[in-house]
Amino acid sequence: MLKECSLNSVCDKMEITFKVFRFNAETDYLPYYQDFTLEVSEDEVVLDILNRIKWDFDGSFSYRRSCRHGICGSCAIKVNSKAVLACKERVIDLYKIFGSNMTIEPQSKSRVVKDMIIDKKDFWSKYDSVKPYLVSEIDENPATEHLVSPEQYEELHEADTCIQCGCCYYSCPAVEVNENYTGPAALAKAYRFNFDPRDDAKHERLDIVNKLGSGIWDCVKCFECAEACPKGVDPIHKITALHTQTFKEGKAKSNVATRHAVFFKTSINQHGLLDEGLLVAYSEGLGVVKHIPEAISMLKKGKIVMPWNMPKSKNLAEVKKLVKISSTAKF
């Protein structure tokens, strides 16, 4: 007899209800959901479920798939809003998180062509925008190899394993509300070449990714991309590295975002803690006026500390000394 799954036990089968998103942009006015209750075994991945729905129930059900080995990146979808690579994600692992009801949806409902198939145009155009290739003066008849040492390769921190599935991009809340934001996949790719010792376009790429409104400063730091990536690329850490590289290479322009980052050091050196009021004033410059209504409402509630009452960390001399001897960046 088959052993039924419970959330904590080893098992042979689970009964799961899949609520599946259906929409054909050519013929449907609105999307709808179809329910399929299936017995699922422990070794099945989400792609097996998509196949079973198509083969056993409805041949018109559409989704992308190709390699089924987690390397082509085409079968990325969402289950209960979690980005998954359908061929890699075991149903039982999702069952352990969500239980027996799973909603299967495309990566982005607003970009659907048919069912799970979305138009990834925006993803690819942003990808293209960061010069996602090696730029190097190559000697056509080199006398020696252009070697990259294992240590130099380590510096890429898996950035080269990206399969362009879009899991991070379509999980990114900044992408959701700001159509100009370059997004985690393309920024991780910019990192991949900017930390390649053979590449000559570091500065050009920093100029591209450093623009306010579309680049690294528009990352909301939510770590959705790190969580979503099925290949361990960890895009947000690559974005952070691009931030620090921007300062290191002297490419950071003085603007609200760079002043904001730098002011933390200034304030810690002065008080240990962050002077929140001065942070806004220093970062915004004249733009600070737009914060006045908010500041008044906070002041009324005792939420603004006056400069003369600014709290300070104990043993501040120690902090000042550490700032002095441990600083590694300049602006």
Binding site: K221, F223, H243, F264, E318, L322
Partner: protein, 292 residues
């Protein structure tokens, strides 16, 4: 059981723009008989912004903060998701990279400190859940929240990246977090199911991309409102600033009224434990807390 004692790392916000968070935390600890030492020596964690400028400096400063908890022989408890992220991240880096730890300790030695790695770093929510226990808290409830639908908002830096956060929060899943909802139920309230409980409020781009921040905050508040929430609670003062203070801006951006009381998790807990609202700083919330 011996008395629970913590080194509390307040970070900046509870000492400046969210004084009610410090008040309510201290009031709740007193009521639950938790002994507290405030780490007055600690500095700002860098809030993930200093890290964009000077990562090594941020590691040294965060390691220094942890040193002071280690000196007391206590676990370091954070009150802010972003403090949790940066402190836990520093600890994880130093505990797993002896070369980096040596470099950081070389700096700390100049001021007579040494990072050892002996104190755990965890957020107050998980201290309540795993050390005190919700069953114990449930027994101490004086005013059950039976009339209220509470939307728990988790924020980012307490649940993601899960690989880091699971060191201290054990089983919390970033795609289906439950710690706050379980607390609400323990307090006798109804936990509101809504999709955006684990999404981002956009706080970290408030200055450079206010529209992004307003839309993200707006989406959360409207999702909570549309699912009949009477109030929202959060474990993070930065999320609280966005969701409580900015409601008029957010309403304008969204084209819909997003008014709803937003409480620090400690404030709601305090109310259920029968603590005087004044002691919890309820009057300091910008959006009036109508339920009190």
């Amino acid at each position: 059981m011996s008395k629970i004692k913590y080194a509390i790392y307040t970070g900046c916000t509870p000492r400046e723009s969210t004084p009610e968070l410090l008040m309510s935390t201290l009031a709740v600890c007193k009521k639950l008989d938790i002994e507290v030492v405030l780490l007055d020596e600690a500095t700002c964690c860098g809030a993930s912004h200093l890290q964009d400028f000077d990562e090594f400096l941020s590691l040294v400063l965060n390691a220094r903060n942890i040193c002071y908890a280690e000196r007391l022989g206590l676990d370091l408890i954070t009150l802010c998701n972003t403090c949790q992220l940066n402190t836990a991240f520093t600890k994880e880096r130093l505990d797993n990279d002896s070369e980096l730890k040596a470099k950081v300790n070389e700096k700390l030695a100049e001021v007579g400190l040494e990072y050892k790695g002996t104190s755990k770093v965890k957020h107050f929510v998980y201290a309540l859940k795993d050390d005190v226990g919700y069953d114990v808290i449930k027994e101490k409830v004086e005013k059950p929240l039976s009339q209220f639908n509470v939307a728990s908002f988790y924020g980012c830096h307490n649940i993601r990246p899960s690989k880091l956060q699971n060191i201290s929060n054990k089983t919390e899943n970033p795609y289906k977090p439950t710690s706050l909802d379980d607390l609400v139920v323990a307090l006798g309230g109804k936990a509101v199911e809504y999709q955006r409980k684990n999404s981002c409020c956009g706080f970290h781009v408030d200055l450079q991309a206010p529209e992004t921040a307003h839309k993200l905050t707006g989406n959360i508040l409207l999702d909570a409102i549309d699912n009949n929430a009477d109030c929202v609670i959060t474990p993070c003062p930065l999320c609280h600033l966005n969701m409580d203070v900015k409601q008029s801006h957010v309403s304008k951006t969204m084209g819909r009224d997003v008014s709803i009381p937003v409480l620090h998790m400690q404030q709601l807990l305090g109310l259920a434990l029968g603590i005087d609202p004044k002691e919890l700083g309820i009057d300091k919330n910008v959006t009036k807390v109508t339920m009190v």
